[in-house]
């Protein structure tokens, strides 16, 4: 089966000895779980390049780029203020309606748009996936990260907007990053399932608009979570975005629902989702290149 052809190898430069080189073992899929998160760290530069590409292409393609990122939450905020605030007169935890909605819409839009892009990322990159190896996990992570740029722009507008209403954030603002991390992990946890499923079954993307729509109703964006009866609060908190949006609004304005039962339930749920998502993605990873 094998033959040895020796020929004089003219080494142009001193090279590492073979024994120093990394050894790659190729084997069939095994039953066990090996998330290979260390590999993700070794490929961090590629992760950076994927995020950079996403952001660059997104802003190059749309002529109004940044303006759109600001307009989207602003217009939604106007609609919410008009219908849920002025017409339906839903409570707003003592906050002016525009601030109440805007503070929820900025994290919500990050969640909903990122969830869509994470879901589609494996399919959009199928050419690369079938032509070169890298840890596939990089793709959904990069999609969840690149949404943070839009979020940053929206957030700056939100802070200016809130201040213009005379609301100064208190010490609670220091907890903001925590809620952002929670939002990121929610996108990732759910997105890992959806992106792998979407690569295997093309009709998953048609489900996304419905998922996002129902999710919006199940999150305290248009209404405060205090409207949910106290004894069902923990159940409500199993939607991680409930904890994220409540917490975000509270941390920024110092008013509204302080994180409690909802946040604990949300955090627990996020941790479970991310781990389950990682395991599922890892199981599917092997067959994705064969099936996208």
């Amino acid at each position: 089966m094998s033959s040895v052809t020796s020929h004089s190898a003219v080494a142009s430069a001193p090279r590492k000895r073979l024994s120093d080189q990394p050894t790659i073992r190729i084997e069939p899929m095994r039953g066990g779980v090996d998330l290979r998160l260390g590999e993700l760290w070794r490929y961090r530069e590629l992760l950076y390049f994927f995020v950079w590409r996403d952001v660059k292409v997104r802003y190059k393609q749309t002529a109004i780029g940044v303006v759109w990122v600001i307009l989207q939450p602003l217009l939604s905020m106007l609609v919410f203020t008009l219908f849920f605030g002025r017409l339906a007169k839903l409570p707003s935890q003592g906050l002016p309606y525009p601030v109440f909605y805007f503070a929820a819409l900025v994290p919500w839009i990050y969640f909903s748009t990122s969830l869509v892009s994470v879901t589609n990322i494996m399919v959009e990159n199928q050419r690369v996936i079938t032509k070169v190896y890298f840890p596939r996990l990089i793709l959904p992570v990069s999609a969840a990260l690149s949404g943070l740029v839009d979020f940053g722009i929206g957030f700056v507008v939100l802070v200016i907007f809130t201040m213009s209403y005379g609301i100064r954030p208190g010490p609670s603002v220091l907890l903001l990053p925590l809620f952002l991390v929670l939002a990121f992990l929610t996108v990732l946890g759910i997105g890992l399932w959806l992106s792998a499923l979407n690569a295997l079954y093309r009709d998953v993307r048609y489900l996304i608009p419905f998922i996002v729509q129902f999710w919006l109703l199940a999150s305290p964006v248009a209404y405060p979570s205090s409207m949910v009866p106290e004894r069902y609060r923990w159940l409500y908190g199993l939607n991680p975005m409930a904890g994220v949006i409540d917490g975000f609004r509270w941390a920024l304005t110092g008013r509204g629902q302080a994180p409690g039962t909802v946040l604990i339930a949300s955090t627990a749920m996020v941790i479970v989702t991310v781990f389950a998502g990682l395991i599922f993605f890892n199981r599917m990873e092997g067959s994705i290149a064969d099936r996208v």
Partner: protein
């Protein structure tokens, strides 16, 4: 002293037929699971086939190994397993060193991004670090001869420019093990030579290369050892000369024809082989007259035969086509001969398609194997984007009107 850098033992890969089709919908799977829940989620049987069966081989450090075999024989699957794009169903392999794979020209290129941006992106995807790309950047750009256009989005590039940049990035990849699939078949001949030159430099520097190609001349030039993969298994593993000769013999004996044809017709008559009269049976080496024979085996008489022929280039662009009506063919072997005063085509791989109908019934539609190589010198513009599909000999002379002396340019 050379050491083993790739050791594969018993690699096999099973695919489920139809699994790659877009009809793989979650909806269907759910419906099936609901209709027959006792069968379970993945209970339904799918037709499977083995793309690779028990392939074992060793590759030594600094070796340039060629992989040959007809389409669908499993060469690409083997390369995909070794580059970790897909996992084997069974068997293992060990690779010592960094692995770079070049399975496509321009992996990761994005049309909206500039040449500079794509160089970084594609470089990173192929496995280079940012520092490494920055260090080699100027070299890559001058190799691609694209200094002036490096900040233009690649969507404005001609296909030649695009390929040059993509190759330049790939050619500067310096892993210990390089896996290359067929990508050298595109681009103009001069640039191809440049890339091949660089690849042999890479090999001389002690790196290991596995090269898949249909261009047997290229394989002969570059590789010391060749593995012939047939129907998913190793058919022959020996010196380049030995394996390529055996492969060519098998091809001209028409061994591959039966499974390469479409399964329509073929009952009454079938084309079995083709060749060019002269020394090289499947390549054109001069601008002179060319005579090409196609052999047809007829088993049942054909009364109202229509015969068509077409010549395609590697991008599946139709170069030439013709048809003949009212053929009457008796059982036996018939030789169809086409004579051309010259086939002045741009160097590269081409393929013949020949057909036969009886009335309106399709009898035969044969994609001539092997491909036809055109291996003449390029007489065209040195820049790829200005050289076309015809490689016409030409002469230019310039003379001032009313003047005495003119000057000729070749």
């Amino acid at each position: 002293m050379s050491a083993t850098v790739i050791q594969a033992s018993g690699l096999s890969k099973r695919y489920e037929r139809g699994a790659t089709e877009s009809s793989a919908l979650l909806r269907d799977k759910l419906a099936r699971a609901l209709r027959a829940p006792w069968k379970g989620w993945s209970g339904q049987r799918q037709e499977t086939f083995w793309a690779l069966k028990d392939v074992s081989m060793e590759v030594q450090e600094g070796e340039v190994l060629g992989l040959i075999g007809r389409n669908g024989s499993g060469k690409t699957t083997l390369l995909k397993i070794l580059s970790r794009i897909t996992r084997p169903t069974s068997g293992t392999a060990e690779l010592h060193g960094r692995v770079g794979s070049l399975l496509e020209v321009g992996t990761g290129f994005h049309p909206e991004l500039t040449g500079r941006e794509n160089t970084y992106l594609s470089g990173a995807i192929l496995g280079m670090s940012r520092q490494e790309i920055a260090r080699k950047f100027d070299e890559i750009v001058s190799f691609a001869e694209l200094e002036k256009f490096i900040d233009t989005p690649v969507k404005h590039y001609s296909s030649g420019m695009y390929v040059r940049l993509a190759f330049a990035v790939a050619a500067h990849l310096e892993p210990e093990i390089l896996l290359v699939d067929e990508v050298l078949a595109v681009g103009d001949i001069n640039f191809q030579k440049k890339c091949l030159g660089r690849m042999s430099d890479v090999a001389r520097a002690g790196r290991t290369v596995i090269l898949v190609s249909h261009q047997l001349g290229q394989i002969r030039r570059l590789c010391q050892r060749v593995v012939w993969i047939d129907a998913g298994s190793v058919r022959r593993d020996a010196s380049a000369q030995d394996v390529v000769n055996a492969y060519e013999t098998a091809m001209s004996a028409g061994e591959f024809t039966s499974s390469d044809r479409s399964n329509m017709g073929g009952q009454k008559a079938r084309f079995v082989r083709w060749e060019i009269a002269g020394e090289a049976p499947h390549s054109i080496t001069s601008f002179g007259p060319v005579r090409i024979h196609f052999y047809l085996e007829v088993t049942e008489p054909i009364h109202r035969g229509h015969h068509g022929i077409a010549l395609f280039n590697s991008e599946r662009q139709l170069i030439w086509g013709k048809a003949a009506d009212d053929l009457v063919l008796t059982p036996g072997t018939h030789r169809f001969t086409y004579e051309f005063p010259s086939l002045p085509l741009r160097p590269g791989p081409y393929s013949w398609l020949v057909s036969l109908f009886d009335g309106t019934e399709q009898i035969e539609m044969w994609e001539g194997v092997p491909e036809m190589g055109v291996a003449t010198d390029s007489l065209q513009h040195p820049r790829d984007e200005w050289s076309g599909i015809l490689n016409l000999p030409s002469e230019l002379s310039v003379r001032e009107e009313g003047g005495e002396n003119g000057k000729s340019y070749r």
